[in-house]
Symmetry: C2
Amino acid sequence: MAVNLIIPPESEIHSVDGVEIGIAEAGIRKAHHKDLTVFRLAQDSTVAGVFTRNRFRAAPVQVCESHLASGNAIRALVINTGNANAGTGEAGMRVAQETCRAAASLLGLQPEQVLPFSTGVILEPLPLDRLLAALPAAIDNLAAANWLPAAHSIMTTDTQPKVSSRRLQAGGHTVTITGISKGAGMIRPNMATMLGFMATDAAIPAELLADMTRRIADRSFNRITVDGDTSTNDSFIIVATGRSGLSVDSTSSPHYQALFDALAASALELAQKIVRDAEGATKFMTIQVDEAGSAEEALQVAYAVAHSPLVKTAFYASDPNLGRILAAIGYAGVADLDVSGVSLWLGDVLVASRGQRHPDYREEDGQRVMKEAEIPMRIALGRGQVSETVYTCDFSHDYVSINADYRS
Amino acid sequence: MAVNLIIPPESEIHSVDGVEIGIAEAGIRKAHHKDLTVFRLAQDSTVAGVFTRNRFRAAPVQVCESHLASGNAIRALVINTGNANAGTGEAGMRVAQETCRAAASLLGLQPEQVLPFSTGVILEPLPLDRLLAALPAAIDNLAAANWLPAAHSIMTTDTQPKVSSRRLQAGGHTVTITGISKGAGMIRPNMATMLGFMATDAAIPAELLADMTRRIADRSFNRITVDGDTSTNDSFIIVATGRSGLSVDSTSSPHYQALFDALAASALELAQKIVRDAEGATKFMTIQVDEAGSAEEALQVAYAVAHSPLVKTAFYASDPNLGRILAAIGYAGVADLDVSGVSLWLGDVLVASRGQRHPDYREEDGQRVMKEAEIPMRIALGRGQVSETVYTCDFSHDYVSINADYRS
């Protein structure tokens, strides 16, 4: 089902020195299902995160933000699937705090050194007893090589695990970056996605890491959408263990840019993998908006096109009914848009220019691009110099089937 | 397919004195298909219209606005299906103008006294020759009793004709209000819908009628959504022929309010019929947002819920996965929303209060409401006194099928 989603062979998934991962079956929602994951992070690791802007922020998101703000060194992450612990009020907050307390006790840490993450159904109580009962098994399972099993264990409606791993040489050191993500529906991250975890063995001070994490999210997880539904639990975390020997102290450090680019490339890969494995997706679409007057209006147009059910179903059918794209551009909310400046390309095919069908455009040419699994679309607004790119997928029968049946 | 859409018996569809309607087969897109409709309006009729705010306004919309602004007495409407004449540039403008010119010539009018309307595929040239060839037949067919055939002839992906007809007694006169609408996809009117035509035989001065039309659109066609896609061709027209003898000159006229309410009720009925016949719809949902701080935020929340593919597919499946509604409320864009003030009812079932699942809520109760064809939902925000209501439908396999195949 997934669109060109590549799972690297195990030999190319590099462990990150200073990170161990353990997995267990808690049976949160379904029995005999690996749904609990624990990360243990080496001393002196720095951790940064960005979280959903949904006003119904789940309890674990609130606890994460509080623990990150407390200044305590984060040393563990606890992730469950099967239940989002969102819309659960004070009781939900207690569940998230008890999870941290129990994990801290088993690992010899303070509760504030643990970050909790939950994903699954909203508005239902999370069975704390099952989670706590499985924690010792997850901790017994801790190992550096568990990235791929972890990518499996954080899946919900995902059909494929999502892993990115790369190495770079910098300052005489081999630096590793490995990460995992999950998510297939309720995807329009607004800070980050539900969920992304990356680690590197470079050393990065906490404040710089926080800044990098925000900027990386803005060009990766914050540029994807499946259905326009921003989740209550979006969380994206970067861990820097420092074990490689490379240390990057500021944006002017000699290897800062190379490290930033490598982290950003991994994050973009993980974000795009969410779109590639989106519920029901058969096509991966890149929507680039050029010549905008501002980033805001470029994104308004890109998201209007990316969210239009009419555009998405037309791409599913490879039906070059491309007036639907112009309609979406027109209602995107750019109040003073002069449509006579608008051009539209599908791949290398110029569909519309000066706000109307280009005289040389032939539907066969549009359809040829639409039949591909990877569809680049470019919209030029004729208003300025700003470009933005958003990644999305088509909208198929299977999206409806999956979401009509998700809980049953 | 349509959800409780009632087609009145012919005996209850009242002609409006001063309005004649003629229909013909132009074969704009498909041969042997009634796709051309002409309205002839009696002398001294007043006409008002509201039109799409999509920046890609179709050529006929632009011509309508220009002719209405010209101050000439509007005496005819020409409506074609099969092609929207949108995204067609200068050539499209000429087609719309030539249509008015030809109709005016046949009817003994000036071109500026004719309003053109088009609906169908965007970004393709409208075959003017076929339209002009069929105009004489449509005019030969002019008759007062043609409202139901006209409701048929303006359909595109609609499965049912949409007619509303009512009478009121005022000032010793029997006043008739009859209207038709069309639309099933690309429906999130932003001024009006694609397309609505109403007529009354009351007399209403042009300026007052324009004001009433705007206010009526804001509580009817501007409160429905199927897929969030605002069309390039939305147009809503009210004609007042004055033939009944009742004259309403200002908002303080004795029968103003009764006439306004009756017109508004007809418009709401026609707007709701579009939702009832929406592409693939199996359920009709009324989303009422109470206790908002402003109309704007009430509508933000109502539309976020109404557009969420996850909410719409859950209702299709009668799956009480109602956390999806809270998630949509949370991402609607009310930046300072305190979720602990939010309550949610499905029918008479209190699902959530204080931002979390209500302790007495049982899924069977939620599901009982979801299994109905008519689903009232109420959201209280706990922020103020403002209420707004939006009407929408669920999201089914058939929506995808219809929109993946629309042109084939």
